[in-house]
Amino acid sequence: MKRILLIFTLLVAAFLSFADDSVFSPPAVPTLVADNANVFTNGQRMALANKLNTISRETSTQILVYTTTDLLGYGIADFGQRLGEGWGIGQKGFDNGIVIVYKPKTDSTSGEVTIQTGYGIEPLIPDATCKRIINQEMIPNFQQGLEYKAIDDAIDICFSLTKGEFTADEYSNFGEDSSVGSIIVLILLLLVGYVLYAAYGQFTIGRRPSFFSYLWFVLSLIGHSSGSGRSGSSSGFGGYGGGHFGGGGASGRW
């Protein structure tokens, strides 16, 4: 576990040194609604966050809504992909993340929107479908100033297209394999440890270590090998899952 953690830290460090913008590293407080352009009211932001948190909790599919006034010179699709990959939207292994990036129209620049799909979402929401959602559901609403409706509708469609494909049950089973493994390891450790402990007492004249020190030793071993338990609060958002994005999806401007 320690080594995995080390490699992970190194990878993150390597990633950070490649990415020139800290925008693409996950925020300290994980959220699925990042309204940097301030397009929603507080109530709308809460409603969106509640909806997205529920989807994430119940289906493990994560949808990130990100609004910004500045794409930092990236194309919007590129920006969305980097965001999804950098923050790790969706679950690792399932790659069931979706990123919606919206840049409001200003007097001098056109409005832009993108839906980026994680690798696991690509077969469920093909690029052409993303394009249709953008052209038929989102852009007409954006043009009328109905920003919340545009994004809320898009979320509903994306959700209905991915529903049933990933379930929270399936996701927790996904993690359970390793816990069965660690139980077996635990039993083996206990057995081997006890045999050694007993043997130590048989063949040495010295003071036999207490049974508690043996127990402490085994438990500390277990502490190293496990400790990857998933914690998720019943309300709110538990955190990003480490999903990957390959550039699938579509974008539109008006």
């Binding site: 390597a14 990236y74 194309g75 699709a77 590129d78 992909q81 993303c130 390959g246 550039g247 579509a250």
Partner: protein, 199 residues
């Protein structure tokens, strides 16, 4: 008696030394193999997305033909560039600068033939209104993004591998086992930032 004890201690230290060097050598070698596999996997993804683009072309050409039959040169250019690009095979074991450049050149020719075709079709409003065509262009756009992403990911993985095998002391293991540096995709204008496909 004392010298004998010393001798045993020295032998033990030497043995432990040899043992740890052997363990280090094996571990480092395995890590290089793992990184090398990562590069190969990433390369497979790159080929995958280029293949995806190649697969879209016959359909695209057929659709355009139906509306813009006069644009023979632009169409044949695309078909020929596609055939050439598909004929370039890169050995994933040996991603050296030369083979990567060949691959890149063939794919680049296809990219420019495609963009010429897409400029030409601007003149055909009926085609642009065609449902099939607009789906194809959405797919093509997504595929160009995927290509940019996988190229970037490949470069990142290859950079990690290259850095590791060229650093001392891992470089000793890499040299003795014949691991070589991998080439990068050049960050030409339009590869770092995804090209915008405009129709």
């Amino acid at each position: 008696m004392k010298t004998k004890g010393c001798l045993i201690a020295v032998v033990a230290v030497v043995l432990i030394g040899i043992f740890s060097v052997v363990v280090w050598y094996i571990k480092t070698g395995n890590k290089i193999v793992r990184l090398d596999e990562g590069v190969a996997e990433s390369w497979a993804q790159v080929e995958n997305v280029y293949q995806r683009r190649a697969d879209l072309i016959p359909n695209l050409v057929a659709t355009v033909k139906g509306y813009a039959e006069h644009e023979k040169t632009a169409l044949t250019d695309v078909v020929e560039a596609r055939a050439k690009a598909s004929s370039v095979n890169v050995n994933p074991e040996k991603l050296d600068a030369q083979s990567l450049q060949q691959f890149e050149q063939a794919q680049g020719n296809l990219s420019s033939a495609l963009s010429r075709l897409l400029v030409v079709v601007e003149r055909y409003p009926d085609l642009k209104a065609n449902q099939n065509f607009s789906e194809l262009q959405a797919q093509l756009e997504g595929t160009e993004n995927r290509i940019a992403v996988e190229r970037r990911k490949f470069n990142e993985v290859a950079r990690e591998y290259n850095t590791y095998i060229r650093q001392f002391p891992a470089s000793i293991v890499a040299n003795s086992r014949g691991f070589e540096k991998k080439a990068y995709f050049e960050a030409q204008a339009g590869s770092e930032k995804a090209p915008e496909v405009k129709f």
